[in-house]
Subunit: 155 residues, 2 copies
């Protein structure tokens, strides 16, 4: 139900949040998040256009969070990457008499999408980073690949 | 969040349930559900393979529900059309130490998908037809196009 593009966008934003907001270049983010660089470049452009990231060229440049991770929700990232998650506003079959009143099939589908929207709006990227769960997002890739990207190795 | 294929499959099954289980030929179902016939044919094959529909060739043949609409859930149709809705069983990045323990990002996504699964498993095609909502699934197309397909017109 969550598209590849949405998942990749979330990984990228979570990574930038984990390194204090960035900046990081596309190749670095791609390696850590396991996303093909060309695909990621398009996603990062979309996130920038939506005002979630800033982009700076040149040495020391790259993509950075445009605001604190606590003020960016999962929903914001999904909307920026994919224009929302497809709430059903009116009859998809164009049945005129339905208007904004959905039939039971489309109401069920929209109820499920609405519940997802509530969860995503209620969770910030900071919430995800601060979760007490044992497994941390991107942990192993940060611990190994991440240090290699920076040109350092701990072992 | 609900794919086009899933939505089309649900329309087809709901239509067959509305006409008492069928049978109906692909062209008829395509016209009523507003689904391109070639695309629908593939979906109907998948629903048949999954045991939700029976297919019979020749005069009076077509696709029919293989069991009562009250015993077919929305979930059954989604699974048949798309192999489920993508529960996250283990770390999509292949981070070995995570194993079956998801990080907060993937746990959030899976929680949302799990809630959707509960809703879809708890709703049968019969529930959708029997809903007291004012707008009925496929109502206008049934009232107009449907009768034309059968070679009759009420006006």
């Amino acid at each position: 139900m969550i598209s590849q593009t949405a998942e990749y966008a979330l990984r990228a934003v979570v990574y930038l949040a984990r390194i204090g907001g960035g900046p990081a270049v596309t190749e670095e983010i791609a390696e850590i998040t396991h996303v093909p660089p060309g695909y990621l470049a398009r996603i990062l452009r979309d996130l920038s256009k939506a005002g979630l990231l800033t982009a700076r060229r040149g040495v020391g440049g790259g993509f950075a969070l445009a605001k604190p991770a606590g003020t960016i929700t999962v929903w914001d990232v999904l909307e920026a990457a994919e224009s929302g998650i497809g709430r059903i506003q009116s009859c998809p079959l164009g049945i005129g008499e339905h208007g904004a009143s959905l039939c039971a099939l489309h109401q069920l589908l929209d109820d499920v999408i609405a519940a997802a929207e509530r969860s995503f709006r209620g969770t910030s990227i900071q919430d995800i980073l601060m979760s007490p769960r044992k497994s941390k997002p991107l942990c192993q890739t940060l611990a190994t690949t991440g240090l290699r990207v920076k040109g350092k190795k701990t072992e």
